[in-house]
Amino acid sequence: MAKITYIQPDGVEKSVDVDNGLSVMEGAVRNMVVGIDADCGGACACATCHVYVDPAWTDKTGTADGMEESMLDFASDVEATSRLSCQIKVTDALDGLVVRIPRTQG
């Protein structure tokens, strides 16, 4: 289990416990975090679960693979730490993770 803090587009921070094995996207959907659409449900098909990983955490979350990277390439407002949250799997090592959600998805 990991405590994850989601910073919503409206600035509100939501800190929630997310079970291991779920994705960071699923943690957001289950806890009604605003700003993550995740239309495809986690199939890495739609790029509507874009988040910015807090720079302190990028070592632990890893980096995007080729498929994810090319999806992100077409998302709006991409930054160096952009990820698709459906592709980040939650483990104990992510306890304390902070992600910020962009203003728009897609």
Binding site: L22, D39, G41, C46, A47, S70, F74
Partner: protein, 419 residues
Amino acid sequence: MAQSHGVLIIGGGHAAVQAAQSLRQGGYGEPIRIISNEPVAPYQRPPLSKSYLLGELEADRLPLKPDAFYAENNIELTLDTLVSAIEPDKGRVRIERRGARSEHIAFSKLILATGARAITPNLPNDERALNGWFTLRTRADSDALGKWMERPRNAVVVGGGYIGLEVAAALSKSGGSVTVLEAAPRLLSRVSGEEVAAFYAREHAERGVEMRFSTSAFGLFGDVRVDGVRAGGGAARAERIDANLVVFGMGVRPNVELAQSAGIPCEDGVMTDEAGRTAHPDVYAIGDCARAWNRIFRRPLRLESVQNAIDGAKACAAAILDQPAPAAHAPWNWSDQYDIKLQTAGISAGADATVMRGDPDSGSFAVFYLRAGELVACDAINAPPEFLAARQMITRRAKPTPEMLRDTSTPMKTLAAAV
């Protein structure tokens, strides 16, 4: 002013949930009620033919929303309840629940998100009563099929569209022989071009899936359990193909009966404008059951996809709230088979030219479909840039030349920016 009875949504899929969510997000303050005939809260359907069927995605990861979503947003979710009639002029529907008398529920606005149901051959009752044949639409369907998959099997999948192929992939991955029967001379004939069909035929064949084209299913053999399929090029020439598991993936028929009985025009789908408005001012229809005017393709389209359900629901909510319509997007969809990801944008039907980008033998390529020079669709296989660029270009009705599309030395982002 009379008290509002709020919005009543019939159906328990993506469209129903998105409509309720968008109404609340847009500030709708009246009651919202979702009535679903399924026994469980709305869930994701795409995994039912893929990861969920294979047991890779657990049941508790299927729901679209946590239970708290409905309570927190004051959305009343009524499950296991059938709507047997709608009476738009009286502003009410009739519902039936097991062991209870029918009752009426009032609405101010009604949204039909009734979805579609799977087609099967016209089976006589004794064949219909056999165990071991399936369609795939609901979680219960997937659970039943998954359970039957636990035993040794030789499976026949009837229908070489995306659902049929996804099920064939899942069946093949989990062991046992699989034969796909397709009535047309090739796979994916309604939705994709020949290049894509040939690629999938080869990928499945390499994994031992047998394909029989120009072959329709006419009936089932068996005593209590299915032990064969009656199939062939015509009913008179049909032969027996042994099978102890049969899945019909022959497409769907929209659930339009409620609208039809209320006199609302339907033509393979409830006819609507692009915001889901039907011919009746208080009734809307969205998702798989609707044939909605499409601004980009300039014709009414009935689409079966998550994207169509979500975008239709958002447009419908905006219309009910009397807010500006959200921007229209090109339709898109995806299919996962084995380790192959297809992403598709637009509608290829009616195209007059196709352009191949990349080499199918590399496992990553795209086919673009043009009509009168305009990009109308793209099938991208393990090729997200092609898909995403196409989605943008189709939405703004761009006209990239075949030469540009074919030229892999120019990145898709550069190409999309240039047209």
